[in-house]
């Protein structure tokens, strides 16, 4: 299991980039926003693989269950 981690990068231009790693599902956004609120104002966001991974697993499980039960 991946270690849950947040990486905070403060650029030379004074911007802050917050990246979550190993946190699956919408919780990763909650964690990132927690840090963002400490720092300032969110300018943009990108939701990638792991954000959707938990919901995809749940959807597959639901489909598999329906198939088995008819």
């Amino acid at each position: 299991m991946d270690e849950q981690e947040v990486e905070i990068e403060i650029t030379a231009q004074g911007k802050v980039v917050i990246r979550t790693k190993g946190i699956k599902g919408p919780q990763c956004l909650d964690v990132a926003q927690l840090f963002a609120q400490i720092i300032g104002k969110e300018e943009s966001r990108e939701l990638t693989g792991e954000y959707y991974e938990a919901s995809q697993v749940l959807q597959r499980n639901i489909q598999s269950h329906r198939h088995r039960t008819g």
Partner: protein, 156 residues
Amino acid sequence: MSTVLIVAPIVVASWPVITAAVTAAIGTLGFTLARAELNASVSQQSQTKTSNREVIEVEESEILAGATGVAQQLVVERDGVRATFSRDARGALKLCVEGSHLSKSQLRAVGEELIGAVTQQYAYHRIMTELKERNLTVVDEEMTTERSVKIRVRNF
């Protein structure tokens, strides 16, 4: 990686905190401290000389009002360029960059580089203070070749 947020820091600080951020930032850019001014008289004198001037206001900023008589102006210099940090009438951080041998656009570029470095120092201090107060574990810190600072955090 699951989420990436880009955040613009909001600088809310007292003048001593700003001074500390400026002092930490200028070394990497080759600037040196001139002197803190109690009033704007010296800055006004420099305006009568033939020199270009650019003013940059940091919109997302608030410098807390200090005690009367405490200097709220900081001057740094490099290669004939003079940059003055001050608190404007609205309480925001302002930077005035002057130099006789640089164009306005060049002065603006110097000013934006300075503002970026000061903001970086302020944000770093703010983040590290909050991480410590919340008992979060900083597992690693590094300075990249692009002069970014990366902090890795666990146990949140």
